[in-house]
């Protein structure tokens, strides 16, 4: 039986914004097993990014349980969560979010600065990750010297450089042209198939979802049963 990587029970996230009480996620139960590539889909405001943030421990749920890699995230303090995230999670943003003053290799090296690796080992790992995403010849380029697709590939290299158990991607192709988006999705698919990385990707794009092994839909803060899509889904 495949190992469960993510397991949530009645996971709920509510918040108050400008005196309005908002339910961002309502009683979500989801299970992701090792080696899956899950696409979380749904319209804006359906709660898919909120779910991703809760899985990455970037936010805390209002109620319910969330176990990621067997760890109950509600029981950890901020410092422990940061260390856990560094060791187990690779996160890819829609807008790449590279540090502009650092070169590609320095950006990729950043998460490794929190490990016990020596400078030489860190640079070796970062170089390997950049070669894996096809940017071995762009090690010392600054983000502004790269195209959007290349920037996102640097971000992917940064997400996988620590060899995390789980890669989370929040609309990774949202800011890319079709060609670059295809390259990034192919890369994620390769990471899943060749390196058995468990990936959870939030996307609007049905084409992107085709690269995943499984798609789950959210609508109005609720996770629809597996195989079910919203009524107005095209």
């Amino acid at each position: 039986m495949a190992e469960t990587v993510i397991e949530t029970h009645q996971l709920t996230k509510e918040f108050v914004r400008d005196a309005f009480h908002v339910v961002a996620l309502k009683e979500v139960d989801i299970t992701v097993v090792r080696g899956e590539f899950v696409a979380l889909m749904g319209p804006s405001g359906s709660g898919k990014s909120t779910l991703l943030h809760l899985i990455a421990a970037m936010d805390r749920p209002t109620s319910g349980e969330i176990l990621v890699l067997g760890q109950n995230l509600r029981s950890l303090n901020d410092r422990a969560i940061a260390k856990w995230r560094n060791a187990h999670i690779g996160f890819i943003f829609q807008s790449f979010n590279l540090i502009p003053v650092l070169s590609a290799i320095e950006n990729v090296e950043l998460p490794l600065k929190l490990t016990n690796l020596s400078k030489k080992e860190r640079l070796e790992h970062a170089t390997t990750a950049l070669q894996l995403v096809g940017l071995g010849d762009r090690l010392h380029h600054l983000p502004r010297q790269l195209s959007g697709g290349q920037e996102q590939r640097v971000a992917i290299a940064r997400a996988i450089v620590t060899d995390p158990d789980l890669v989370l991607a929040d609309e990774p192709t949202g800011n890319l042209d079709a060609g670059s988006a295809q390259e990034v999705l192919t890369l994620l698919s390769r990471l899943n198939k060749e390196f058995a990385k468990t990936i959870v990707m939030v996307t609007h794009d049905p084409h992107a979802a085709h690269f995943a092994t499984k798609a789950r839909h959210l609508e109005k803060a609720e996770l629809l049963p597996e195989g079910q899509v919203p009524a107005d889904w095209k």
């Binding site: 943030h53 990455a56 970037m58 936010d59 901020d78 410092r79 940061a82 260390k83 995230r85 560094n86 060791a87 999670i89 996160f91 943003f93 979010n97 540090i99 502009p100 003053v101 650092l102 320095e106 950043l110 998460p111 600065k113 929190l114 940064r158 620590t162």
Partner: protein, 390 residues
């Protein structure tokens, strides 16, 4: 912390103009603080030379501008432990064009027969010493003054009195070498007395007495004995070490310690605000990056140390530059005319202790000014940070 240093350095260089301006403002402030600290150290902590340690100066208790009777000399001379006493008179006066600052050098009336006894560190050829002791209009000057004004033996130096209503036509009979390199002139006080005329009551007054003790252990007792002796007279005295006397000379401008500390406080506070504002601005612009770093696994403590490190780095660079600037200014002040009036200025320097204090102050400025923005950034949630548009 050192692991993050390349990142801290790159962040510092991110907005070069702002960093340079911040470093400059800290450097200028720390330069002022450095000079003040050096001044404070030279004035209040400097050790007297062996010759200085034996010298005392007796003046009127109220002020240096009040004269005391010349007759006190005999009474002071009788105190056990006193080796010699010399009357000492500030003359002032005008030499040539008063608008030329080079013409403003200290000139004192002294008693040639005791002069080189109370100033044993002054070196002069015997024939010039004799000439000073025997020529009523004779004057001796320091080598520094001779070089500065191109004076040579035999030159006439005319001083037009302002405090005293007389003109002194002095003849340069000697040039002495002295360790502090002050530009200074001494003439025979008897000549001033003669010039004042027999009926002038100021003839029997003197500005101060220089007392030379036999040994340094006697100095406090002698000072106490002199002052107690004249306690109930119309001209009560204050006897103090040469160093304390020079400080009281400087105290004409007010409470020096308070003055220095007030400037010190004001400069530090101002630079704290400037630095704090810059760091806050810099952190606010990069709050999104704080969210990214946290997503990568940076702990609040790591974020705190990166921001504090950046601020401390800027402050220390500013502090080091400030120290160098201050060292240059101290060099200029050492050679300036102020040293002729206050010996402490002639030893002014950025000592290792002052440099360490300067750098420590810079370090504190860096830490304090960035602590609030750094703390706030380290506590901001990832999602709030990522939502920030800077």
């Amino acid at each position: 912390m050192f692991r993050y240093f390349p990142f801290i350095l790159k962040n510092t260089l991110r907005n070069r103009r702002r960093s340079i301006l911040t470093i400059s403002s800290i450097a200028v402030s720390l330069c002022i603080l450095g000079v003040l600290m050096a001044l404070y150290q030279a004035m209040f902590f400097g050790e007297p030379t062996p010759a200085q340690a034996l010298r005392l100066i007796t003046r009127h208790r109220v002020s240096l501008t009040q004269p005391i009777p010349i007759s006190y000399r005999e009474k002071i001379q009788r105190i056990p432990g006193v080796r010699g006493v010399m009357a000492w008179q500030w003359f002032g006066g005008v030499y040539k064009d008063r608008r030329d600052p080079n013409n403003f050098f200290p000139r004192f009336g002294a008693e040639p027969e005791f002069f080189f006894q109370v100033y044993p560190e002054f070196q002069i050829p015997d024939d010039e010493k004799q000439a000073f002791q025997h020529e009523r209009t004779g004057a001796v000057i320091s080598r520094t003054l001779a070089d500065q004004m191109h004076f040579k033996l035999g030159d006439r130096i005319t001083l037009v009195g302002d405090i005293f209503p007389v003109t002194l036509d002095l003849k340069l009979v000697g040039i002495f070498d002295e360790p502090s390199h002050a530009a200074i002139l001494y003439f025979n006080r008897a000549y001033l007395r003669d010039a004042l005329g027999a009926n002038n009551p100021r003839q029997n007054e003197v500005g101060a007495f220089l007392i030379q003790a036999v040994n340094a252990d006697d100095v406090p007792r002698i000072a106490d004995t002199v002052d107690r002796q004249f306690d109930n007279s119309p001209f009560p005295t204050r006897t103090e070490s040469e160093k304390a006397f020079q400080l009281s000379f400087a105290a004409f401008v007010g409470n020096l310690k308070l003055f220095i500390m007030a400037i010190f406080g004001a400069v530090t506070f101002t630079v704290l605000l400037v630095s704090g504002n810059t760091i806050s601005m810099s952190v606010r612009e990069r709050i999104r990056e704080v969210g990214i770093l946290k997503t990568l696994g940076f702990t609040p403590g790591a974020i705190l140390s990166i921001i504090l490190g950046e601020s401390v780095f800027i402050s220390i660079v500013g502090g080091a530059l400030g120290c160098l600037l201050a060292s240059g200014i101290c060099g200029v002040m050492r050679k300036g005319p102020g040293g002729n009036f206050m010996a402490a200025l002639r030893t002014l320097e950025i000592s290792p202790a002052v440099a360490v204090l300067c750098i420590a102050t810079a370090l504190l400025i860096g830490l304090i000014s960035s602590s609030l923005p750094a703390w706030s950034a380290s506590r901001t949630s990832i999602l709030d940070s990522l939502r920030s548009t800077g």
